[in-house]
Every structure is written in C-alpha cells, then in structure tokens.
Symmetry: C2
Subunit: 527 residues, 2 copies
C-alpha cells in the first residue's frame, strides 16, 4: 500500500541529515580513490548514455542511506502507480500519462472509456501521415506548392520543449540528410516576437502549428490572430496554412479554421508534452516521422530503466536522491545545467521550466504546508561559453552550486578542424573533464585570490553522440528525476496554481478594473 | 581619503542587519499606501528610463540606513577614483576605464603615456570609418563585391554583450531603415557552433570580426582557424575577410592576416567591453556608426547620473544597495532578470556574466577571505515566456527570489494586432504590471494550493521604447550596479582568477599529462 508522507517524517531522512558534510570530495576525487570512483560510480542510461556521479559528494554510506530513503518513500511503487493510471495529479484530479506517449510500461490504462496508449499512438500516426503528406506534396498550399517551413505558435510547455528538441537535432538532421523543413517558433505576446519571425519566413510556403491544450491560452490565441491577419494581408488563406494541436474538448478542436487537428489530453502536462503531438507534429514535419520515432524509442528505453527499484541501477532515481541530499541536507539552493554541446543551447531553458514549475511549491500533495525547502533554482548555458561567463562564481563564489554536466564524444556536424594538435571536439571534451576535476579538487595557492577550495560537486551524462535516441533518453531522464523528487518532497509535481494569479490580474488591468498600485503601474506603462 | 573596508566592519551594516524583515511588503503595496509608493519610489535614469522600486521591501527607514551605508562605504568617492584612473583592479594592478569609452566623467586619464579617452575615441572613429567604407563599398571582398553579413568570433565578454546588444536593436534597426548588415556570432569551441553559422551565411560576402584582447584565447583562435580553413576551401582569401579587435601588444595586432585591426587595452575587462570596439566594430557595421554613437550617449548619460552621491537620486547605487540588503540581510541567494521585451532575449545571459563573474568571489580586494555572502546567482528569460515556465517557483516556491523587471510602453516593430479589445503590446505591459502586484501582495485563498503569500519583492525599469539610447543606459545601469556592489562587498570586481584552473587542466588533458581521475574522465570521453 502506498503511503504519501512528507520527507521530514521519514526515518531514512533523519539518518541522511546526520550525514551532512560526510564526504570530503576533494580528497575522495584525488589519486587512486578518484580513479576508482570514476569507474565505479556510473549507471547505464537509455540511448547509449551513462550517468557518472563520481564527482558528487557521496560515498557508499551516503548511497546506502539514499537507498533506504528511496525504499521508505516508495519511489518505485509510486512510479508504478503513475504509469498504471492512478490519479497522481491530486490538485487537478488527473492521471499523469506522458510516458504512455512513448511506450506501455504497465497494464493498459483506460480513461474516459479509451485505451490511452492506443489514443496517443493514433495521434502520433496521424501526425506522421500528415508529415508524409506535406513532404510528399499531397498536402500543399493554395496554389499546390510545397510547404518548406513550419512555425509553431505556443508558449511555455508548447514552446520550450519542442524548441529545445528541434535545436538539438537540427544540425544532426542536416548532416544526415533528413532536415525536411525549417522550423521556427513564436511564443511571446510581445508583438516584436511574431513580427520578427513572420518577416524572416517565406509566408506562402509556411505552415503554422497552433498549440494550446485548452484552446484558451491568451498569448497563443493573440499570436494566432496576429499570424492570421498577416496571412490575409498577404492574400493567403489562413485555413490552408494552419493546423491545431489541442485537446478534443477545446473550442478549436473541430474548427474549420485549420487544415488538420491533432489531439492530446488533460493527462499530459505542458512541460511533459514534448513526446506527445505537441512536439510530435513539428518534429515529424521538420525531421520526418522516423526520426521522431527514434526520439520516442530513446525516451521509452530510459522510462523502462527508471522502473528499477535499486537507485544504484536507476540513473533518474539516483540523480533525484542526490539532488534532495544536496538541497535539503547540504542546503544548496540552486543547480546549474551545463551541456557541452551547442545543440543543447536551449535544453537548460526547458529543464528550468520542467523542474521549477513542477517542484517550486510550498504545500504537499494534500495542500498542507511543508517545512523543508523544495525545488531549487535551475539555470545554465552551454559549455565552453559558460566557462567564460558565470563559472567564476561557481568556482570561487561564497555559495556552492551543484552542477549537472553533459558531454558527447563526437559532434554532430561532419566539420571539425585540428588546431594545435587537437580537434575542436577534443578541446570541448577536454574542457568538461577539466572542469569536473577543478570543481571537485580545487587547487591550493598561497595567493588566496588564486586559491580554489574545491569540494564543488558535479555529475556528468556522457554519450557517444547527440542522436535522436540519446536526446529522447536525456529528456526522459530529467522528467523522471523531477517526478522522483516530487515524490520525495511529497508534492504534486503536475499542477501549476502559481501561474494563475498573474493571469487574473492582467485581465483586470486590461479591463481597467483596478484602483490601487496596479492602476498606478498601468498608468506608468500607458495601458 | 578612501578606506577599503569589509562590509561587516561598517557601522551602517550592523544597523541594516537589525532591519531584517522590517517591511511587510504585501501591506505596504496595498490600497492607498501602494499607490503612493509607486509615485514616490522612483528615480530617473538615462535614455528616458525610470527605475521604480515601489515593490521592493524597503521603506523610508530602510532607505535611510542604505544611505548611511552608501556614505560610510564611500561609494561615490570610489566611483570617482575609478573614473579618474586609480588602480581599482588590485589583482591585476590595472585601471578600470570602460566608462571612458563613452564619455569623460572626471579629469583626463593618462596611462602608458596616452590620454585614454582620446585613445578610445580614436579607435571608435576608426571603426566608424571602416564601417562607412564597408557600407559605401570602398571596402569590399576580393572581387569588389559588398559585404552583407558580419560574423563575430569571440567568447565570454567578446560574445555575450555584443550579441545581446545586436539582438536588442536588430528589429528596431529594421523598422528604422538602418539595418545595414546581418550579424551572426561564433563562440563555442564545439565545432557544431561554427559549422552551423558558416553553413547559414553567404561566405563570399561575409566579413569576420575576430575578438580577443590577449590574442591567445584558445576557443577563439580555434574558431578563427576553423573559419580560415573554410574560407580557403571556398577559394576565398581569409585576409580579405577578417578584421581583428585586440590589444596593441597582442600577437595578432600587427598581423597582415587581417584587413584591419582595432584596439582596446587591459583597462577594459571583457564583460565591460560592449561600448569599446569589442562591441563597436560589429554594431557600427550592423547598424551604422550613428546608431552606435546614440547607444554610447545613453550609457554616458547613465554614467553621469551614477555620480550622484545620494542613492535616492542614483538608480544604479540604489539598486546595488537594495541588492545587498536582500542578499546579506534578508538572505536571498538568487536574483531573476525579467525583461518584458523579446528584443532583450539575451540580455539576462549578458547580465549573468557581468554580475556573477564580477562579484562571485570569496576574498576581498586584498586577497583576504570575507565572512559574508557576495554575488548571487543571476538568471532570467523574457516575459511573458517566463510566466509560463519558472514563475511557478517564483510565486509559490520555498525560497524568495528578488526580481528585476523591465518594460517599455511601445514595441519596436511597426506591427501589432488588436485582439479582444487590446493590442499585443498592451497585453505585454498588463502582464508585467500584474506580475509585480501578484508577487508583492499575493492573494489569500482557503485552498492552500491556490494561496499566494506575496511578500516577493521586485523593481522595474520602465522606458518608452527600447531605443539605442535606452539600451545604452540599461547596460551602464547594470555595470554601475555591479561596481557599487563590489565596493560594498569590498571585492575586486574586475579580475576573474576563478576561470584559470579549468584552462590549465584542459591543457593537461590535451597533452595527455594526467594520471588520476582526470585521466579516467578523459578515457570515458575518448580524448
């Protein structure tokens, strides 16, 4: 039987608290001991990836305590309940089914009288068929010409994930001859966002994908009208240039304003929707359905590995546990995400939403205040760029910031250059290896300004190349990590009540229905 | 006489510590009191901007204490010493002269036998003349054709600032008919970065700007060779396609490998170099020298306002003081930068470097450890995008994150659409106003999951439009804020020793000169 208990009521947590500062990381990572840790503290992931946590401030004793915590918090059983269709999203009383978009982990999940796996598959196949139609020119613009660009209109989860995924595979696809369409994104309600994108595309050959689960997202509907106006002004028929991704119950689901509609449902949260048709339509159009299927396979493989109840064999669970140790026991308030791959330039922005929107909460899943800290601030930029920017603080600042590195042995494009005896790719990899050790071990110097304390923990996910499978596994890893952390903190990671108040107040401003400081700000901003 | 003292030795700081939690922000911002605060707590800035701090958790008593702190810490006198040419960068024993690139605040500064203002002006004029030559087609490619695209090769301060500034004005320039060349940037040593940019440009008509102060930055030199190889392979003469921005003493300063060279010097740190020729060459080429001059004027105006010893009339100083109150007294470890302008999409990344690299330090300017926290973690994305992402944590997370909003009454492009009774621009502004109030006042709800505590402080910088002048003022504001905070924490904000160790270790990896965990990581990454 599953018990949903607050972190600070668990016995294993009390034990963990006694292990604060237990490991001297600089010592542990030096000499033979360091070499052994790199070999030993590694877990195989999906998509050919490995999670290496040698440079985390843990040892066998801390890991044993984390394993006890995983058991007492019933992490595995809770994941099982989730993928078997329990109402995990207690706030909105919903199932949480994003894993079903890429595989069947447990028994069939029937909701609203429908087998949900079959439903998601049908939408995926519909998107694939539509993409084949566009690529094969059976689906064209008004004058029978091919669409060459696809533009997604969406915000938050309908934007960040799909955008990060597209950028992650754009150059890989070019190199492998499967970039079938260019993709662009419009998200901000700032009219300059839509204006810039619309000016940069070849409008008669552009297809728009409108993404709004509810069909009522103000920013997205505003941008839709903006785009429709521009299409009309250009003498084009908006209904021939736009498809919708929404839920079957949304006002736009059955509209004749769209060339086609693809469906998701309330059991997939926006920030978990990259593998649903929210990501599937644009990624299938951009790269072809086969590439999207490979991406889903990587995610499915990783989901399956995350079912292992032993955290030492379950990278997502272990990553989650170490994160809670760092946040609640060591007391570190932020985490940096640092991919050594330019293709992952917007992956940190996606993880920022995924993590902070899921676990940035102060009440537990029953609505009771918790008395411990929850989700950390997440930020990051690709290395080596970050090294020449904010790494100064990471190395020598007064706060310790745990680090999440990613690195690949091979780059995506066929181009490279050997300079000073090594390729750019080798230099890139040498830098991430060097950073891990610099953070962990530091370096004593008589000049305190040049002294590095070390003791700054990191993990790294290593892969051979950022392929569709590797990307899928990477995405699922973090989704599952966030889910396990939500279980540990006893939160509902799948609602987002914190975004509601701002929406309500913005409407009041626009209706001029304010008479306090809000009115004063409105006047300053000339609203 | 200037005394450089640690923050915790100042009397005014002890007083400030006693004011922890002094203001109930939710109460203060409600009703009449809130309206009064919005009118009263505002400071005029350069470029037509205003800094409004009504929603910060301060009142007249806290402000009086901050003013005492400013006086005791001699903020004004230290700024004066800086712009008059004292050796403020104690670590590297250098002057700090970036303000001289945009104006003469004090007496002439002569260093190395040269009037530095005249020197910077001469380089600026040289860049202007070069840009006029390119635009007027007196400077062309090998076959006499015009250059249409400019690509900057640089990293860190040679990339983030200029890139953020270009993006900030790109659409404004299009709208105002002064986008003279497209601009792109190559920074990461990841070969996929250079490959993607090179594939996207029209190589015969592309001019490259190589930026490295020392002329020895490994990533930049690697990318330079990469680019030169590609130019040669395309049958082009690299020397006809590349200019250098560097210091006069650098190995590349006098090379015939470049069409032209523009100089900066050791008195301008990378992250403070956007107004030097590091930003000047590419921005003058992209927008024309007149636009770059307007940008400098905005910065100069803001620099001048920052000389006011009264923090209530000096936005940068006040912003700095409030930040120290939040960081050291209230104990909040991060700050979010949230521009409600898509054009400022990379401005947070620039501020992240500016702030975290300047003040992410644990020793004071004399190399002695400090016993208080210094620079916070800085992160951010444009609103309204962030609202649909990480704002959940900002509203309802267990940690309080102070917020720095920016908003403009008018957008840059001429395009907008009226939807549901308001334009996109009005919706954008309504959202930022609503967010400020939602964070400050919150909203009681019987359902704790829908309850907003409020008490989450923010400031906003408001302008009419993001013009070159406004952008210059915005940039200078944050440079000066960071400088004043460095003075308060008694740090040297102008060196970055924390980035050195990683460089040294990376070289050892590439030379295979390692035999510990670093070797083990190198093997995993196949180096």
């Amino acid at each position: 039987m599953i018990l949903w208990k607050n972190l600070d009521t668990l016995q294993a947590y009390s034990k963990l608290l006694s292990l604060k500062g237990h490991v001297n990381l600089a010592e542990a990572m030096s000499g033979e001991s360091g070499k052994e840790r790199v070999a030993k503290y590694a877990v195989r992931m999906g998509g050919g990836l490995t999670y290496n946590y040698a440079a985390k401030a843990v040892d066998d004793e801390v890991l044993a305590a984390l394993k006890e915590l995983a058991e007492e918090a019933q992490l595995s059983a809770k994941y099982e309940a989730l993928y078997n269709g329990e109402v995990i999203n207690t706030g909105e009383k919903r199932l949480v089914l994003h894993q079903l978009t890429r595989g069947q982990l447990g028994s069939p999940v029937v909701a609203d009288g429908v087998d949900k796996r079959a439903f998601y598959l049908s939408q995926q196949e519909k998107a694939a068929e539509f993409a084949r139609g566009v690529h094969g020119k059976t689906i064209t613009n008004e004058t029978g010409e091919a669409f060459t660009t696809v533009v997604q209109i969406g915000i938050g989860g309908s934007d960040l994930g799909p955008r990060a995924m597209f950028l992650a595979l754009e150059n890989w696809a070019k190199e492998n001859g499967c970039l079938k369409m260019n993709a662009r994104f419009i998200s901000n309600v700032d009219p300059d966002d839509a204006a810039a994108v619309l000016k940069s595309v070849d409008l008669p050959h552009t297809l728009f994908v409108l993404v709004s689960k509810s069909g009522t997202t103000l920013e997205t509907l505003t941008n839709e009208t903006f785009v429709r106006n521009v299409l009309k002004d250009a003498g084009l028929d908006p209904a021939r240039h736009m498809v919708a991704v929404t839920s079957e119950t949304s006002p736009i689901a059955k509209s004749s304003d769209y060339l086609a509609a693809f469906f998701m449902d309330d059991y997939i949260g926006g920030r978990y929707s990259s593998t649903s048709c929210v990501g599937g339509v644009i990624l299938s159009l951009a790269f072809g359905p086969e590439v999207f299927a490979r991406f889903l396979n990587g995610a499915a493989e990783e989901d399956k590995l995350a079912t292992n109840p032993d955290p030492l064999k379950n990278a997502a669970m272990l990553d989650a546990l170490i994160g809670v140790y760092e946040r609640n026991v060591q007391g570190w308030p932020a985490t940096a995400v640092l991919p050594y791959s330019q293709a992952l330039s917007r992956f940190p922005a996606h993880l920022q939403q995924l993590d902070m929107e899921s676990n940035g909460k102060s009440v537990n899943r029953f609505g009771e205040p918790v008395h411990y800290v929850t989700g950390p601030v997440i930020f990051g930029e690709p290395g080596t760029n970050g090294q020449h920017s904010f790494y100064q603080l990471l190395h020598q600042g007064t706060d310790i910031v745990p680090l999440q590195f990613m690195g690949f042995r091979r780059n995506q494009a066929g181009m490279d250059a050997e300079i000073q005896g090594s390729t750019s790719q080798k230099k890139l990899c040498a830098n991430v290896a060097a950073q891990i050790m610099a953070f962990a071990c530091g370096k004593k110097d008589a000049d305190p300004n040049k002294n590095f304390e070390g003791g700054r923990p990191s993990s790294i996910i290593i892969g051979d190349q950022l392929t569709p499978e590797a990307l899928g596994a990477l995405l699922a890893h973090f989704e599952n990590k966030v889910m396990f952390q939500g279980f540990l903190w006893n939160l509902n990671s799948f609602d987002q009540e914190g975004v509601q108040l701002g929406k309500v107040l913005a409407k009041r401003v626009l209706a001029h229905d304010t008479d306090d400081a809000l009115r004063a700000y409105s006047d300053l901003l000339d609203i």
